[in-house]
């Protein structure tokens, strides 16, 4: 009993940091509708800046002053990011901004590395709160008690700010109805900036205040990212009390998980999230998100047409050029081209569900990695020949997507995205922790193609046929009645349902289909590398595809392909440099700002302006 009480206290203390950071994320999302992936980076910056300040500001006063200053400093950094990176892209299609925030993550990672070095930093202990106190005989750090005590005040302060002040009224109005703020005569741009300041400052505070417990390191940003999204989603997007309850729930459960069921820790919070969302699709205290409530941002997508003779010719020429690669290039080039095609197919499969279906999946890697693992397991345990394994990969991934899709389909918007992320994470931890079967962290090796395809040249041709074939097939399905029904369900589910279309079922099947196509990419991948590791199931892998689809242009399939090819090539080129992240981050941000419709969409616009492409009537 005493132990349990102490454990609850530890959980509550951990919840403090989580709540501080998550409430900032929730505020930012609620008002600006921006899914800010860089929020974890703000948290990391808070920790490092706080650490540096504590080196120069002595004593108890210095400690707490450093925490506050770190918060303010990160708030200012948030404002800089908002003004320089996000303002130019507010008018871009929904969720496009998350690509920009992803670029910010990369930039901040390298800046932190440059400034503070690669070594982990041990946080200074808080003066005056160093020891422990015994509660029912169990040791509890004094600092934990301080954190537990502070959190309700923070919650109350925020709550007061939001519900009782004029600023708060505006923030709430903006959360519920963006247009209304304009009607109230408030400068929306500055309201957004203000909210960004507050939200980032919360993250910075969180980072600094946890220093005595966790210190600072360069992995903090990604490590907390998943947890704070989970907290915000469980609590209900935009709800502060919800975020607090969720933070407590997750932290306390986590402490128990660590003590009693250590193997559960990697998935625990995702399981909790999945359960909560299945029972309450908008989180514990969230408000129902009516689709389209916040207005479609950006131009509507344009009609698509089956490829005309010119496009077909272009595709044939491109294919011909690709087949020449092994003849004229090095084997190194063939390998690179193989990687690129596989990644393009993966991105194109995500585009199918995201672009045509309007369903943003944050967990598409589950099907890429899922397909890869199906193939690898079949080869390792059943001695399956490559040809059959390559067939089973999409079947397995498709089945997986069929099941996951069934569960996720009852949610929409960001909640849908988060549930897909949860399932991907579940799969990842399953693979990661089930060593005996999947090899765990060490992955599975020695999975090579059949003899007739050994060698990078012949495997390149297989990839070319299956990869490009897969992309063309995706394109064809987009033009088929099923693709149209999918777009109809996205455009107006009201009309679609009123004309006999079962929109949920169409989306569900599309999700399964996209999963199967990602599975082909995964199968090709595993034989091209000869091995597979859990990293292929990671969040970062899902995000890669997401970034690429947005960067290339959500509205066209070619966008996903162009984006995929560019990113894979770029990564290959620049990862040789030490500070490649900052380079890539800046490139991403610049592309996002210069090409808010994605590379392909913006290229078309420019073409129209220059008169190279026929312009469509009427669209501003």
């Amino acid at each position: 009993m005493e132990l349990i009480f102490a454990q609850v206290l530890t959980g509550l203390a951990n919840a403090a940091t989580l709540f501080l950071v998550a409430s900032g994320l929730s505020l930012i999302f609620g008002v600006t509708r921006i899914v800010n992936f860089a929020h974890g980076s703000f948290y990391m910056l808070g920790a490092f800046i706080g650490y540096s300040l504590m080196q120069v500001l002595p004593g108890m006063f210095g400690f707490w002053f450093s925490v506050l200053l770190a918060g303010l400093a990160v708030g200012v950094i948030g404002v800089i990011v908002e003004i320089c990176v996000l303002r130019p892209v507010y008018k871009a299609p929904e969720l496009f901004q998350l690509v920009a925030t992803f670029g910010v993550i990369l930039v901040i990672q390298d800046l932190a590395l440059l400034t503070w070095g690669a070594e982990d930093v041990l946080g200074p202990r808080a003066p005056g709160l160093k020891g422990i106190v015994r509660i029912f005989g169990e040791p509890v750090p004094k600092y934990d008690l301080a954190m537990i005590a502070i959190t309700p005040f923070v919650l109350f302060g925020l709550w007061y700010l939001i519900t009782k002040t004029r600023v708060g009224v505006l923030v709430r109005a903006a959360t519920q109805d963006r247009e209304m703020v304009g009607a109230l005569g408030v400068n929306q741009a500055w309201l957004f900036t203000g909210v960004f300041f507050l939200g980032s400052a919360m993250a910075g505070l969180g980072g600094a205040i946890q220093l005595p417990k966790g210190g600072a390191d360069l992995l903090m940003d990604f490590n907390i990212l998943a947890s704070i999204f989970v907290v915000v989603v469980i609590g209900g997007m935009g709800s502060l009390p919800g975020a607090y309850i969720a933070a407590v729930l997750i932290s306390v459960l986590n402490v128990f998980g660590v003590s009693y069921l250590p193997s559960s820790t990697l998935v625990l919070m995702f399981v909790v999230m999945a359960v909560v969302l299945m029972v309450k699709p908008y989180g514990l205290l969230g408000r129902e998100e009516v689709a389209g409530e916040h207005g479609q941002v950006g131009e509507p997508e344009r009609p698509i047409k089956p490829a005309g003779p010119k496009v077909r010719l272009a595709v044939v020429v491109l294919l011909a050029a690709l087949t020449l690669i092994p003849l004229f290039g090095s084997s190194f080039l063939s390998v690179l081209a193989t990687d690129i095609i596989i990644f393009c197919l993966f991105a194109a499969s995500l585009h199918f569900i995201l672009g045509l279906g309007g369903l943003v999946s944050f967990g598409h890697a589950a099907f890429f990695g899922g397909g890869a693992y199906v193939a690898a397991l079949m080869v390792s345990y059943a001695n399956t020949p490559m040809e059959l394994a390559l067939l089973l990969a999409p079947l397995g991934a498709g089945l997986l997507a069929f099941i996951i899709g069934w569960v996720c389909m009852r949610l929409t918007g960001v909640y849908f995205a988060m549930l897909t992320l949860a399932f991907a994470q579940l799969l990842w931890s399953l693979v990661f922790q089930w060593d005996e079967f999947t090899g765990g962290d060490d992955g599975m090796v020695d999975i090579w193609p059949a003899k007739w395809l050994a060698g990078s040249t012949s495997y390149f041709y297989l990839t070319l046929i299956l990869g490009v074939g897969g992309i063309l097939f995706l394109r064809h399905v987009a033009h088929s009645p099923f693709g149209y029904a999918l777009r109809a369900s996205r455009d107006s589910s009201r009309q679609a349902e009123a004309t006999g279309i079962n929109t949920k079922r169409v989306q569900w099947l599309a999700f399964a289909f996209a999963g199967a196509m990602a599975g082909i990419a995964g199968g090709l991948f595993v034989f091209s590398k000869g091995s597979i590791f859990p990293t292929e199931l990671e969040i970062a892998r899902s995000f890669d595809a997401l970034i690429v689809v947005f960067l290339g242009g959500v509205k066209t399939l070619s966008g996903a392909v162009v984006g995929g090819a560019s990113l894979e090539y770029l990564k290959d080129q620049i990862t040789r440099f030490e500070y490649w992240r900052i380079t890539l981050g800046i490139i991403i941000i610049v592309v996002v700002i210069l090409a808010p419709e994605g590379i392909v969409g913006t290229a078309r616009k420019v073409g129209e302006r220059l008169g190279w492409v026929r312009e469509q009537e009427g669209l501003r």
């Binding site: 344009r302 009609p303 088929s480 009645p481 149209y484 109809a488 009201r494 009123a498 004309t499």
Partner: protein, 262 residues
């Protein structure tokens, strides 16, 4: 259902409450075959709510709806559509990413149960039928235009073409002429009346423009605060004292106003 006066739609004791608000209270009426029936009433009277319950978009609080003698209460909109009920919306719902004709083709593909096929090109399916429907509503020359750039009145006509896609026996039209110029309104209602006659369809429509209602409706029902207060011929309604009261007592039935809400 062969006798001339048979009811296509039979609505019994239909009610809807939103929390404390009783939006529709105990409404009874039927729509006869080939009839152009108007449902009028001030803003917030409960017309759209009624439509939403008839088509299954909203669960009802109480009551039953029968289509050609079959109980369709509580069915999904898509099921009711397959049984032959088409609908247009007060706030138009179309597919902005498609061309005008593709919007109509989509309904035809659904009608022919082709939405799960992945082999043919969608644009090549039912092209001529879709064109015929667009001609019917008078917008064939706009077939290849991008739906997102249509004028509001054209969207309304497009919705009508979509709703006719499955050859319905009953059409529910929620303010079909909202957002149109007066001459356009008359034209559209004339067109609707022609379609009703030619295809032997029944139409239930709501409308705020009394000129349109009195010129085209075969019969008029008046809804006020969720209750049906009158039901009769155009002349009956004009002279009904209760209806007059609604008009004169602050109602806005005779004025030409357009409020947009779902």
């Amino acid at each position: 259902m062969t006798e001339p006066d048979a009811a296509v739609l039979d609505v019994r004791n239909l009610s809807k409450s939103f929390g404390g608000i009783r939006a529709v209270q105990d409404v009874n009426f039927s729509v006869k075959k080939g009839e152009l029936l108007a449902m009028i009433g001030p803003n917030g009277a409960g017309k759209t709510t009624c439509f939403n319950m008839l088509m299954g978009q909203l669960p009802r609080t109480a009551g039953e709806v029968h289509l050609d003698g079959e109980n369709i209460t509580g069915l999904e909109p898509r099921t009711i559509w397959r049984k032959g009920v088409g609908r247009t919306f007060q706030i138009t719902a179309t597919y902005p990413s498609m061309t005008v004709i593709e919007n109509v083709q989509m309904a035809l593909m659904s009608h022919h149960k082709r939405i799960y096929s992945i082999l043919p090109f969608a644009t090549k399916l039912y092209h001529d039928e879709a064109m015929a429907l667009l001609e019917l509503v008078g917008m064939p020359e706009q077939a290849e235009r991008h739906c997102a750039i249509l004028a509001y009145g054209d969207l309304k006509r497009l919705e009508l073409a979509i709703a006719l896609g499955n050859g319905p026996k009953l059409l529910l039209m929620d303010e079909p002429t909202a957002g149109m110029a007066p001459t356009e309104r008359t034209k559209l209602m004339q067109l609707t009346a022609d379609i009703v006659r030619e295809k032997n369809i029944s139409v239930l429509f709501t409308e705020h423009d009394m000129d349109v209602v009195f010129a085209h409706a075969h019969r008029v029902m008046v809804l006020n605060r969720g209750e049906l207060i009158a039901n009769g011929s155009v002349n009956d309604i004009r002279n009904d004292s209760k209806v007059q009261e609604v008009y004169l007592g602050g109602g806005n039935l005779f004025s030409d106003d357009e409020h947009q809400h779902a």
